[in-house]
């Protein structure tokens, strides 16, 4: 067994180390620095393969379907959705929370793993941060569409207006949400961009065409690799990581407060913030795994994103999956212990009511499926991880659906009970959000280096530093 210090430093054990886990090299193939540069930047310098065109054709079709559905929503009204007076939040907010949750993995990998000196993050942080940005974009569209008049979305910001000025209500969790999501997006974008600058400079130096060189010169800000700049750069990177760490926790905490500060049985729970954050990390890592397993295969990056990386992420999925499972159980206990008949009813209704199928799907995908990660064979076999990560994605979507719809559809007054069923338009918008996500990700893989080359070079000889 390895010692804790080896986990932190990534150092190999002396003697005869077991060739497993953190004793494996971070990057396979015994690469030189110039080889890393060439291989990381190669996808941005050649024409995309046929597979890429097929993929983007599919994702762009999905995006177009979503755009059509959004157009229908905006021109015909929210009546095109399956919402009713009892279930006023359903697919849209489910999708919003789902995407925001996915958006947590990127900053978690960049910031928290950076502070914990988990050097295996270097191969995946760039793509995970990009994924975060795209996921937050997908998330942001849902509340804005749900406004019905999205061109008035700026009303959610405190700006001097002709109505008093009537300021936004700073005591409302929905406003906290606006602030949290927009701050998260801006800081994540900044963090991602700061991390990109050295690689943009490398890309600039390798650019063949004048246009590419000019654009990259603008964005690489005259980077020349000077040690004085590196020194400040590392300070700034550390500071941003330190700032992002509480930020990433705060975002889903505040999202959970959208629910927890209301008095709806099933929502009004103090467990929501930690429960949501754990769920976000859980779903985010599952999505990173899904994307990375495809990307490493398609883009021949198996030597950079090794099974060691995948295995480390599956451990996070297993741990957070169990936290989420514990939260499900705690919710039931709290409902029983509260003695509140409404609260008790909501939870019985979740597990046994008309949406019981969704509840048990959630439990099966989120609590049972990660248990396979106890086996090393599963943790190190990409196709098995891929299947399980898909299950986790499905389960986490259903978790939000269960929390939102089952709590709303039967609340205090039986005369206002109702059922919810999504319309085609809602499903199409959801499909469209996947289209947006994957289209942006596919473009990203061809335009920018998917792997942080400067960071990978720093860990090539990990035992020496």
């Amino acid at each position: 067994m390895a010692h804790d210090a080896d986990v932190l430093t990534g150092a190999a054990l002396s003697g005869n180390p077991e060739q497993y886990g953190h004793n494996l090299p971070l990057i396979d193939g015994n690469k030189s620095y110039s080889q890393v540069t060439a291989e990381v930047f190669a996808p941005t310098e050649r024409r995309p393969p046929a597979l890429w065109w097929i993929a983007i054709a599919i994702t762009f079709s999905m995006l177009s379907l979503g755009a059509w559905a959004v157009f229908q929503t905006l021109t015909r009204g929210i009546g095109t959705w399956g919402l009713n007076r009892t279930v006023g939040w359903a697919f849209d907010i489910t999708n919003f929370v789902f995407w925001v949750g996915i958006g947590h993995a990127g900053t978690l990998i960049s910031a928290i793993l950076f502070l914990f000196r988990q050097r295996w993050r270097t191969s995946i942080n760039r793509a995970a941060e990009a994924m975060t940005l795209f996921a937050v974009m997908c998330a942001g569209t849902f509340p804005i569409i749900h406004m019905g008049r999205p061109w008035l979305a700026f009303w959610a910001t405190p700006y001097p207006n002709s109505r008093g000025p009537l300021w936004v209500n700073f005591k409302s969790p929905l406003l906290w949400d606006v602030m949290a999501i927009s701050t998260y997006f801006i800081i994540s974008l900044t963090f991602w961009y700061i991390g990109l600058i050295p690689d943009l400079a490398t890309q600039r130096d390798r650019a063949k065409t004048k246009l590419k060189r000019t654009v990259l010169s603008i964005f690489s800000l005259g980077w020349n690799g000077s040690n004085r700049t590196w020194s400040r750069y590392e300070t700034v990177y550390m500071l941003l990581a330190g700032l992002s760490t509480p930020l990433v926790v705060s975002v889903h905490t505040i999202v959970s407060m959208d629910f927890a500060t209301s008095v709806i049985p099933g929502w009004h729970a103090t467990i929501f913030p930690p429960y949501f954050v754990a769920g976000a990390v859980f779903s985010g890592f599952a999505m990173v795994l899904t994307l990375m397993i495809i990307a490493r295969k398609v883009m021949n990056l198996e030597e950079y994103i090794t099974t060691r990386h995948l295995e480390a992420m599956t451990k996070v999925v297993l741990a957070t999956g169990m936290i989420v499972g514990l939260a499900y159980a705690t919710e039931f206990f709290t409902a029983w212990y509260s003695g509140n008949p409404y609260e008790r009813y909501v939870f019985l209704n979740r597990a046994l009511g008309p949406f019981a199928w969704a509840y048990w799907m959630m439990v099966g995908c989120n609590v049972l499926s990660p248990q396979f990660f106890w086996f090393r064979k599963v943790r190190t076999t990409p196709w098995m991880i891929f299947i399980l990560s898909i299950f986790v994605n499905i389960g986490m979507w259903f978790e939000r659906f269960v929390i939102i719809v089952t709590s709303l559809h039967r609340d205090y007054l039986p005369s206002s009970w109702a059922m919810y069923r999504p319309t085609f338009i809602e499903v199409a918008i959801f499909i469209g959000s996947f289209g947006l996500f994957f289209t942006l990700f596919l473009i990203f893989t061809r335009v920018l280096p998917m792997i942080a080359a400067s960071e990978v070079k720093g860990v090539l000889k990990n035992a020496e530093h």
Binding site: S34, P160, N169, K171, T202, N224, W230, L239, M257
Partner: protein, 398 residues
């Protein structure tokens, strides 16, 4: 003289294939009395700051200052807008509800600290979009580890070159043109971070004071659009693409009761029901001057078009057009009908020609019209020399 001496020292650079060799070379050159100006590498070489004698960056202080600014602005603005400028009590919470202000304050603190420290970094490191990059070695962002240094006094480059070769330099050259030297930046001086914050302060104050100066209570400010003042609402008689029947206005479901009117009549349309109404209903309104006036007005507005102002078909539009002759109200036939039956006909229409006016006239108005018809009949029964309608009919209290 010694102050300018160093300017004449020659500068040279050397590149290595490995960060450890570069680090060792830097230490060696500094020990030998040369001045290493900077190193260039594709990733940060750890231990290089100490080897070069670069002090730790002061950017954390700028970050702290921006964080404090964000925290202050956020709490200040929330308190001012919620408790001073537009005090609006919500959910029974106090106007200054500090716990409720924490999330936004936290987010703004992080936002300003993050953006502020990045802006400071760009300013300090002189990073901005530029097409020509100074001091750029072709391998610096790829796989080379480069140092730029000044020769020590009384040393020849050839001696250093031999040293560098032994240290494993891949390439080295004496620099003719000095482009690798940067003077100490303004921001590197101790006052730098403070000056930066001072420089940013006016902008922040300006932004923060916009709501203070942008107030004119006398006139309506510029609205960005129609907004709440011009809602996109459906009008009753508009066509609708969504609602049943293609109309906004929907028929109430069967059995709907009016909230303002009286209870529904216990009579259906039809002649038998009209006769039953004649037996069972009596006019609940006794004649008064006011009811007479109201009945007259309603009769002349609704009934007289067909029946004539006197109830004798004189001036009837349908008669004049040659359509058909309505029943003469002052005829003995109608005179002999009970009040209830007239009321039923006014409500549901006659057996042949007349439509019902239950939808146009309220129940009270229909009874008053019946009262007025009785007065017309009385007037018609009098000798023709008498005035057509007595100003004060019988039974009316003066």
């Amino acid at each position: 003289m010694p102050n300018t001496e160093h300017l004449r020292r020659s500068r040279f650079r050397a590149s290595f294939a490995d960060p450890d060799r570069l680090l060792f070379a830097v230490k060696h050159l500094r020990a030998a009395g040369h001045t290493v100006l900077d190193t260039y590498s594709p990733f940060p070489v750890h231990g290089m700051d100490e080897a070069l004698g670069v002090r730790p960056s002061r950017l954390p202080r700028a970050c702290l200052a921006f964080a404090a600014l964000g925290l202050t602005l956020a709490f200040g603005f929330q308190i001012w807008s919620s408790a001073v400028d537009y005090p609006l009590r919500m959910g029974g919470k106090p106007l200054i509800a500090l716990p409720a202000f924490i999330p936004v304050a936290f987010e703004l603190t992080v936002l300003l600290a993050g953006l502020g420290v990045v802006a400071s970094f760009f300013a300090v490191a002189r990073m901005w979009p530029r097409l020509h990059v100074s001091d750029l070695h072709p391998g610096a962002n790829d796989d080379r580890f480069i140092l730029a240094a000044e020769l020590a006094m009384d040393t020849q480059f050839s001696a250093v070159a031999a040293d560098l070769d032994a240290l494993g330099a891949v390439e080295m050259s004496l620099l003719v043109e000095d482009r690798l030297v940067k003077g100490a930046s303004f921001w590197d001086r101790p006052a730098g971070a403070g000056a930066l914050i001072l420089a940013c302060l006016p902008a922040f104050l300006l932004v923060a004071s916009v709501p203070l100066f942008n107030r004119d209570f006398q006139k309506r400010n510029l609205a960005w659009d129609g907004g709440m003042g011009a809602p996109v609402s459906a009008q009753a008689f508009d066509a609708s693409a969504v609602l049943r029947g293609g109309l906004v206005l929907q028929a109430p479901p069967p059995g709907t009761l009016s909230r303002s009117g009286a209870a529904p009549l216990a009579f259906a349309p039809g002649k038998t029901e009209a006769e039953r109404a004649g037996r069972e209903l009596i006019n609940p309104y006794q004649p008064t001057q006011a009811r007479f006036n109201r009945g007259k007005a309603m009769f002349e507005r609704v009934c007289a078009t067909c029946h004539g102002r006197e109830g004798d078909n004189n001036g009837s539009v349908v008669v004049n057009r040659g359509a058909f002759a309505p029943t003469v109200l002052v005829s003995p036939l109608v005179r002999d009908m009970p009040d209830g039956r007239l009321f039923h006909i006014a409500t549901y229409g006659g057996p042949m020609k007349m439509k019902g006016y239950g939808d146009l006239l309220s129940r009270e108005d229909r009874w008053l019209v019946v009262l007025y018809i009785r007065e017309l009949q009385k007037a018609a029964a009098r000798p023709t020399s008498a005035p057509a309608v007595t100003p004060l009919p019988g039974g009316v209290q003066p």
